[in-house]
Each structure stands twice: as C-alpha cells, then as structure tokens.
C-alpha cells in the first residue's frame, strides 16, 4: 500500500521509528495530488512549497526530540472555507474573488501548533450550501471510485482527497451533514463534534447556530487525534468493549427511506453489535417528521442574513442554484424562524431523552450511496426524492440539536460504493462517543487501525 493511504496512527509510528520522514510523506501526497487532482478536482489550492517547508521543520523538530504529538509531520488539508493566513479562502465562489486571509483561523492555528503539514485547500459546494459540490466556481468534485458520481458534500473535496491518498486527513465543516455525508459516501470516518467544541473563528459561516468544524479521516483513532488538535487539548479516552454498551437504534423516519444496500449494511451492523454483547433497543424521536421544516427555516434564515448584502450587490457572482436558494431564505418571516427555534428546543429534549441511560444512538449515515452528478432526484422506495432532501435526511437533526455524531464505514453496495453507519452521543461527551465508535469500528471494520 502506498504510504499516503495509511492512517495517521501508522504514519506517526513510522515517523518516530525513522522509517519515513515527514518530507517523504508530504512528497508522496503531493505526487498523488499531481497525478489525481486533474481528474478528481479535490483541491482548489495546493501549497506545495509551504507544505514541504513545514515537513522539513517537523523532521528537524522530531529529530531533536521536540515532539508536538501524533499530528506532528502529518500532511492534511483544509476545506476552502477555513482561513489560512496569506492564502485565499474562496468558499468555492466567485463572490470571494481577490480574498486573501489576513490571519489563521483557530482551526489552522491549532493544526500548526500540533505540527501538521498543511497541503492545501479543498473544493466544496459553494459556501457549503449543498450536498453534491456541483455548484462550485471551480467545477464539481468527482468520486474517486466513479467520476460520474459525487463524493457527497459539502466537504466533498476533503473526502475525495482523503479517500484517494491526497492527504492523511482533511478538516471539513458540517452544517447539515457536510462532514458525515461525504465521509459516508467515500468510506471514511467523519466526526461532527458537539456544537461549540471547536471554535468557528476564521470559518466562513453558513448557519451561525448550526455550523461545526470536524475531521474527515481513515479511522476513528485518527478522528480522535485530529479532534484533540482542533479543540486544543488531548484527552485520554477510555478503551471500551462492546459487551455492556447500550445503544438506542433509531428506526421509523430514519429507516423508512433507505437504499436496499444501505438497509442491508445497517441491519448487519446492528446484528454485529448485538452479537458482541451490546444491548440494542429501539428508540423514537416523536417529532422526527418535523426535522426537515425546522432545519430548513433555520438554515435558510441564517444563510440569507449572512448573504443579503452580497446578494443585493453581486448576485451574479453566485452560482445560479446557490443564489436562488439564498434568495429563498430572504422571504422567511421572523415568526416562522422563531417557531423553528421552538422546534429545535423540542428536538433537543427528544434526542436527550432517547440517549438517557444509553451510550449512543445508532442510525444509518446516508440513505443512499454516492449519487450521480447531475441528478436532481433519486428513486428510493418507488418514489422520486430530491437529492438534497434525501442526503440531508439522516444527519441534519444533530446540527439542529448540537449532539456529537460520527460516521463509520459499515459496508458497500454490490458496485463497491461505501455505506456508513452513524453513532450519536450526548452533548459535550464527544470523547465518550469516540470510545464507543472505536469499539464499533473494531467489530464492523476488522481491518481498521
């Protein structure tokens, strides 16, 4: 296996054993980017010279025993909605033409502090306002397994980059599922921490009460390593076995519209956990049917407020689909936004109740495998569903409520397209969620490290 397809955990071990240098690991990633990015379009900006300089510095520091931790010398990328000093933050939009970040985001600063090598900025759905990356001023990101499919979005460039060996991890943002959706579609681990755990300073906002920053990685252990860097402190997480773990399984709304392969992989995951000694109990979110209206009214209102001035002055610089959806938000009445906030409080109570006495909730991550580029709808259960609705369906609840959620690969379709299972933890207990996720991963991905 090429070095650039290994996990952070493995690379960290090899770096300290002097089996590989950070410079070599970075050179491998840059070579892979040169080879694959012209067809995948995962990166908007590649920072080869800076990355190599950072890698050499990491090698020098590690060589004299100055170890910043497991991310030291590891090549990673950032979604191009996160500021990196001296580099444009395009948000995949012509609206941002000429922008250069004057300072690092907290995310970038913390990655630097952890000694990570910053390879570049990845492509996304314009302003993170979509789930396919088709609406990008830089063209669509293509799925590494099938160039006619989307890797999912909005952090699609990040997921495609990690899946295709163009970096060991990437930092995405998640407002309705934008870390978890592409991670699931690309067979990766994607973590949305609890609301507020990772600061948003220096991140172009979409929905100020639902935006999250989170890592896209190849294993749960890697997600924990990157999460520690992003929040600015490392925690010793408990190692758990599945025996005795109590899991609430979300069905009804959450399993009523699933691709057959997704349903099959999800049931197999439930069976594996149960066989390993976990207690699985079916739980309900009584107002699950209200999730989509609540989400829509919050995200549209908040995004419209952020973009109103630019819409009035430079509307033609947006891609047509993103512009029209931002305009839609400008028509929402204040009373309906307030209703949605009341609905949010109800959903928070209901997710908290479902978690009471349990370690995690379990549901599929993405109802369908990677969707074809250009598709407006997708047939599922004999019904044509809008792609945007079906892709957000299983993730957006936890942006509304702020609970931490993680997707783990749990199978594949007969065509080899990945399928993900999602675990959800209690608010502020992301470390506990990671412990359960690692035990789950060991069962359903026996080769995972």
């Amino acid at each position: 296996m090429s070095a650039s397809f290994r996990t952070i955990t493995e690379l960290a071990r090899s770096l300290r054993a002097r089996e590989i240098s950070a410079e070599r690991a970075t050179t491998d990633c840059l070579a892979r980017i040169a080879e694959r990015n012209p067809s995948i379009n995962a990166y908007i900006t590649v920072l080869a010279d800076q990355a190599l300089a950072q890698a050499r510095q990491a090698d020098a520091e590690l060589g004299r025993g100055q170890d910043r931790g497991p991310l030291h010398g590891v090549p990673v990328s950032l979604k191009d909605i996160i500021d990196l000093e001296g580099v444009p933050t395009t948000a995949a939009s012509n609206v941002r033409a000429g922008h250069v970040a004057r300072r690092d985001s907290v995310t970038a600063a913390r990655l630097r502090q952890a000694g990570a090598v910053l390879l570049g900025k990845t492509n996304l759905h314009e302003f993170a306002f979509g789930t396919t990356n088709e609406d990008s001023a830089f063209g669509p990101v293509r799925h590494p397994l099938d160039p006619n499919r989307s890797p999912g979005g909005s952090s699609g460039g990040s997921a495609a980059a990690v899946m295709d060996g163009m970096g060991y991890a990437s930092i995405g943002t998640d407002t309705g599922g934008s870390v978890r959706i592409p991670s699931a579609a690309c067979g990766l681990v994607g973590l949305k921490p609890s609301l507020g755990e990772v600061p948003l300073d220096g991140v172009v906002p979409l929905s100020s009460t639902m935006d999250h920053v989170g890592p896209i990685c190849r294993s749960v252990a890697d997600a924990g390593i990157v999460f520690d860097a992003l929040r600015g402190r490392a925690e010793q997480r408990a190692t758990r076995e599945m025996k005795g773990v109590r899991i609430g399984v979300l069905r009804g709304y959450f399993t009523s519209l699933l691709d057959a392969h997704v349903a099959s992989a999800f049931e197999a995951t439930c069976a594996s956990l149960s066989a390993a000694g976990a207690t699985l109990e079916e739980v309900e979110i009584p107002h699950a049917g209200d999730i989509a209206p609540i989400y829509l009214h919050i995200v549209l209102s908040e995004a419209a407020a952020l973009h109103a001035k630019t819409l009035e002055n430079h509307a033609e610089h947006y891609t047509p689909n993103v512009r029209i959806r931002l305009e839609m938000g400008r028509y929402i009445l204040a009373e309906d936004y307030v209703r949605a906030l009341r609905g949010r409080a109800v959903l928070i109570e209901q997710v908290d109740a479902a978690l009471r006495g349990r370690d995690a909730l379990l549901l599929p991550s993405l109802a369908v495998p990677a969707v074809k580029l250009g598709a407006a709808t997708i047939k599922i259960g004999g019904v044509e569903e809008p792609v945007r609705n079906i892709t957000l369906r299983l993730t957006q609840l936890f942006n509304i409520t702020g609970h931490p959620a993680i997707t783990i690969p749990c199978g594949a379709t007969t065509d080899g397209l990945p399928v993900g299972a999602q675990l959800v933890g209690s608010r502020g207990k992301t470390d506990d969620l990671l412990s359960v996720a690692q035990a789950t991963e060991a069962l359903i991905r026996p080769g995972a490290r």
Binding site: G289, D290, A292, P293, I324, E327, Y331, R339
Partner: protein, 58 residues
C-alpha cells in the same frame, strides 16, 4: 400573515425581481412552513394545544 397571502406576495416580488426560478422553491417552502406552523409543540396564546396536521388558516 397567512401562508396563502405570504406565498402570493413572495411570488409577486420574486417575479418583479426576475427571479423566475424561485417560484417552485417558494411553493415548496410554503408547504414546509405549513408543516412548521401546524406542529403540536407550537405555542398558542389561548392556552389551547395546536392540533397537528391541520392546515394553517390564519
């Protein structure tokens, strides 16, 4: 404002601004707003519960 009145006004304004693609999205949004308003967790000043799945007629 009733959803019917809101939708008419929104479509009229969108057409005035030549945002022709917005009409179908506003109609979708109107259905979503109707669902939001009829949810049983809404506050009602009379103290009466809001009945679920009843069309918004205000």
């Amino acid at each position: 404002m009733t959803i019917k009145t809101w939708l008419e006004a929104a479509i009229q304004d969108a057409e005035r601004r030549n945002l022709t693609g917005l009409r179908s999205l506003l109609e979708t949004l109107a259905r979503s707003t109707s669902a939001l308003r009829s949810a049983d967790w809404n506050f009602d000043a009379t103290g009466e519960p809001v009945h679920t799945h009843t069309p918004d007629v205000r």
